[in-house]
Symmetry: C2
Subunit: 149 residues, 2 copies
């Protein structure tokens, strides 16, 4: 192809950006499970003093081997530690993630409610939405909420 641009068509210019967006969304999604488990384990520890595999599984709505595998991934990624037949604990990194994720979750729920989403729908949808809220978007949400005191 010696003429590299034989009528680009309306799509060619937008293509790379769109592909990048899809790719970005896939990456965000791959973090979602880690974020949810981390936040939830932190919740369990705060509220019950420990996070057992059974509790984690029940809270996530999965079977216990699924929870075990998820915790294995958390450990592999340096977010949690655990020893056989003992509870799961967050590393410092994990605790920081839990902190950050909890705050973002709350802001997302509040934002949804602030624009008129019914509370129950806000709670449900936020659980998925939160993982795709970037730092820039989070900041905008916070500013919007602030301007409503």
């Amino acid at each position: 192809m010696l003429t590299p641009d034989p009528d680009p068509g309306p799509l060619d210019a937008v293509e790379p950006a769109q592909a990048e967006r899809f790719s970005h969304a896939r990456t965000a999604q791959s973090q979602a499970l880690l974020e949810d488990y981390t936040e939830m384990i932190d919740d369990l520890i705060r509220e019950t003093g420990e996070a057992r595999i059974t509790d984690i599984a029940r809270q996530m709505g999965v079977t216990h081997p699924t929870a075990t595998k998820a915790v294995a991934r958390l450990k592999r990624e340096g977010l949690a530690v655990s020893r056989p037949y003992r509870g799961v604990f967050l590393t410092e990194t994990g605790a920081e993630m839990a902190e950050r994720v909890r705050g973002r979750h709350r802001v997302v729920v509040d934002l949804l409610i602030a624009v008129g989403v019914p509370a129950e729908a806000a709670e449900i949808d936020a659980e998925g939405i939160e993982h795709h809220v970037s730092a820039a978007t989070l900041r905008a949400f916070e500013d919007f909420l602030k301007g409503r005191g």
Copy 2:
């Protein structure tokens, strides 16, 4: 355990609802890929007259075997049809999904911008957020936007 409620703890009441939310988010996520491919194939057909595997792959930012597998799933779910070495076409069901998904995507982007999210961040984040926006939330978004002329 004869005493089935030996101090419920603050968490037990909230547990089932939370598990249900996580479960709901997982289900929504399993639809995300179908929605994105369907919308995007419809875009390609509108703008270039057809949707070839290579174009689909490039637009999604994946390799062509990945696109082929995704299209196989679309066909299996009754959203698309295709024949070897020919383009991909949407069924009536697929076209309806594309229509719905396109509208929701636009509303999500507009809502994000309306609450102050920078346009580029809105475009990026919407690609992931959209799949977790329920009918109730979408309606609220539309109402909010309406009340802004």
